[in-house]
Subunit: 144 residues, 2 copies
Amino acid sequence: MTRTRKKILEILETAETPLSALGVEARTLSSCDTATVYRSLHYLEEQGLADSFVLFCREHGTERYYVANSAKHRHWFHCEVCHRFVDLGECRVEPLLSQMEAATGVRIRSHTLYATGTCADCLHAGQQAASRSHQEGEYPRQGE
Amino acid sequence: MTRTRKKILEILETAETPLSALGVEARTLSSCDTATVYRSLHYLEEQGLADSFVLFCREHGTERYYVANSAKHRHWFHCEVCHRFVDLGECRVEPLLSQMEAATGVRIRSHTLYATGTCADCLHAGQQAASRSHQEGEYPRQGE
DNA sequence: TTAAAAATGCGAATGATTTGCAAATATACC
DNA sequence: GGTATATTTGCAAATCATTCGCATTTTTAA
């Protein structure tokens, strides 16, 4: 493995949350070219050293986020207000997916699950705002 | 609601699978401009009449797919070989998400879950190919 | 060390999605 | 119903993440 790829893998491993390609590039202090970052991330994913998922948010648009695959597979929450990720813990949908596989005859190779909404911090900030302005209402819950 | 938006909603409602914006445009027989299709899909989603999720696949890259929100929220499987969607049935992760909400203090507004791999049809085609060529192996199962 | 293979940097290209603006359509009001 | 106002549509140009071609540099294998 090349120096560049090692460095990028290390960035993913030490990050506490998923990173976009641009986030990774920033953490190399722009010592790697953008194209190289993308190619390295693809490489790491092919090698099973990284996982990724695509997420859309108003602020950042559609971007792909990467996490190191060193620990157990986890799922993430993305705050629509502050745009930070919150760890939702280890994957617990495997059993459901196995049932779906059995029911439909498909062979699942990978899955993507994430949730979006408002994180605890922003929720508190919002409630304070609500008590001041009486404007805050309930967010309807919807799936995707 | 305008004629255009009605037509696009109807396209989503009669589609058996999620559609990309370009898929929707094709089904209007290109009678709507691309920008209008995108704007209408955004409108329908804002109104809660449609849901969407972003999916990456080798063949089509990163695209956003839309489904009508008339029926119960469902989850989808995307075949990496033939690129068709397979219905995985009604959402069954709500209870898990509620637990995650309680554990982390976040407020979930929406979630995305889909799986990718090989559909039953392509699996059979692949097995036939395997019995001829002795090339087909196991796909490692991984999450995202 | 040394040739061949693979990776990197740079700049240009791609492709989905968005935006500005003028024309067309829908809605509100008389 | 008919007109004024607000909203939507079409077209073309712009964005933005991501990818690609190609010359140069780094790795790998012998």
